[in-house]
């Protein structure tokens, strides 16, 4: 205890520049931002196609869907939970909406039904975790399997086509050369980020993540909050899934497979601590961007696909390591 005390009281003595740096990195995502800028610089040297309007659009779209999904996941992880059911929800809701609309159901209500399904999924996960106290990973892995199955049963294993263009617009309409999902993602992410920093409700999840018992004692309705988080996560997944369907103009029956892993990884790269209590939405978004950038640049460079996965794995670890090096002990 004495030691921590003294190391902390050491800060004032540190040099001005260092203090500025500390101030910067206090906001966890800054280091990652620096890392990304380094990457961008390096990549732009490697290929002329990297920093072009078109490719920005490409990457934007590649980020959009996971960018939306990662919000829910991040919130859950901060509160010390986790959700492996995300991918299934993503697919299920998209399929439900697709089925309804392709059978002539009006679009807006159709989407609302899809979101309602998401809410239901969220509630089920929430109940299993809060009321029946199952380990989140276990519970959501179970529900994942169940909902994936449900998806198969209702779709009969067929992709869903014959969706009206008025629905496809949601995913294909362009503003300033960027497709709608990108803008939606930006809006949602920014709002979420602001809310996570400012709103009372989301502030509570940090308390829960850091010390659940203290949170209960301090009058935070821990279980209610967590349930809500599961709902948020499910809804975010649904939104992304539906947009995905709109983008393609059809719902691929495999959509969302393996999504949860991509998203959790992104969140962790973005500085969200799996132990809970730490994390920012922007950070997670940056995590998604890192991953998207890697796939993008490796393909631009025409790296042999057999080598790509190796490089991705290695670089991911590298990025996290670099991020760690840039972050001084005081802030960790």
């Amino acid at each position: 205890m004495t030691t921590t005390e003294t190391t902390r009281s050491a800060n004032p003595q540190a040099g001005a520049s260092r203090r500025l740096y500390l101030l910067l990195v206090e906001r966890r995502d800054v280091t990652l931002l620096i890392t990304i800028l380094l990457m961008v610089f390096a990549f732009s040297r490697m290929t002329p196609y990297f920093v072009t309007a078109v490719n920005l659009g490409t990457m934007g779209l590649a980020v959009a869907f996971n960018g939306i999904v990662v919000i829910g996941t991040t919130l859950l992880i901060i509160s010390g939970n986790n959700d492996l059911c995300i991918g299934a929800t993503y697919g299920l809701c998209a399929i439900v909406v697709g089925l309804l609309i392709s059978r002539g159901f009006p679009i807006i209500p159709g989407i609302l039904v899809g979101l309602a399904v998401a809410v239901l999924v969220g509630i089920i996960n929430g109940q299993l975790v809060t009321r029946y106290m199952l380990p989140p990973m276990l519970a959501t892995l179970g529900t994942q399997s169940v909902f994936r199955g449900a998806l198969w049963l209702i779709s009969g294993g067929h992709s869903i086509v014959g969706l009206p263009d008025s629905f496809a617009v949601l995913g294909q309409f362009k503003i300033l050369g960027l497709q709608l999902p990108v803008w939606i993602m930006l809006v949602v992410v920014l709002t979420a980020d602001v809310l996570l920093r400012r709103s009372t409700f989301l502030r509570q999840i940090f308390y829960i993540g850091i010390n659940r018992r203290s949170a209960t004692t301090a009058g935070i309705r821990v279980e209610r909050v967590i349930s809500v988080l599961f709902v948020i996560a499910a809804v975010m997944a649904a939104v992304a899934g539906i947009l995905d369907g709109a983008r393609v103009g059809a719902v691929y029956v495999m959509s969302g497979v393996g999504l949860e892993f991509q998203v959790i990884t992104a969140a962790v790269i973005g500085g969200t601590a799996l132990s809970g209590g730490k994390g920012t939405i922007l950070g997670s978004l940056l995590g998604v961007i890192v991953m998207a950038m890697l796939t993008n640049v490796l393909n631009l460079l025409g790296v042999n696909m057999y080598w790509q996965s190796i490089m991705v794995g290695a670089i991911l670890v590298g990025v996290v390591a670099l991020d760690r090096v840039l972050t001084p002990k005081e802030v960790r």
Partner: protein, 357 residues
Amino acid sequence: MAQRLAGWSAALGRFLSRIGERLPKPLKRLGRALEPIFGAQVGALAVLDAFGAIALGMASPVFFTGANAIAMGVAMSGNVLASMGSTLVLLTGGFDLSIGSAYGLGGVIAARAMLAGVPVWPALGLGLLTGTLIGFINGLIVTKLEINPFIATMGTMTVGRGLINIMTKGYSISGLPPAFMKLVTAKILGLPPSLVIMLLAFVLTDLLLRFWRPMRQLYYIGGSPAYARLVGINVGRVRTLAFMFSGTLAALGGLLFTLRTGAASQQAGTGMEMMAIVSPFLGGVGFGGEGSALGAFLGAMLIALVVNAIQLLGVAVLWQNVVIGTFLIAAALIGMARFQRASQRIQRERRKKEGEV
């Protein structure tokens, strides 16, 4: 239902311990050892497994045939080996996602070596070492670079998978030397090797986790890395060791699989890590240094039971996911119910004691 099952296992536990008390010394110890086992989540799971087996036996005449028993045993061998390793890592509060890749790479490397003319046994040894190496690298990244196990093993997983793809170029490696193909049909005591070795690995891991000091340290680290350091445990080394065990066991599984199939499949082990984490969870293994290899084994067994049921009862393919998921949740709920009651009971007893102080 939850309570009844829980009740049974509790009763069983008390019964055993009571017998234990009446027995001569060595057996007495056994009784004592069993009580806590059945007193915990594991007990409920054991009862659940038995329950499931009986139900399945009634549903399908085929179930209790030796052939099916062996088939099921062989089927779960891979997952059991992986779960043993993953249990060790989970106990220290870590993750190992690279298990699947170690599983696949073990077989591929061994096959490659054999094709390159390395004699069978050294080649197999090489495969095993690959797993150890992967574990070692995981350990280094986690303990030295202080990178979160999730990312670290995630990285090695991707890299490992990549290596497999490069070495196989999408085609499984077959046409292995006859010396090896002879082993494919080999039997130990008339049983498939994978079955026998799986059981051995399980029993060994469980015993070591209970009685071998170096492995006990895993529990201390899981309880609190900081305190573990205070009592002079070399946390970094032990964690690395756990990863190495995990990698090696996974590779062993992969080799056994190659032994079964007579070829090194480039798909072997994909998605295996998840099951290898779920089985221990089901068996009550938690991040905080809780649980036992027995639990992990029973967890794996439950999953195998469900899959076997799906095969025997011919569950429509599209229903598989639903069924598996439902059983997963049900099992977890029962385990939890039991666990909560157990801890409540103990605390009540404690309180009584203190009153008498």
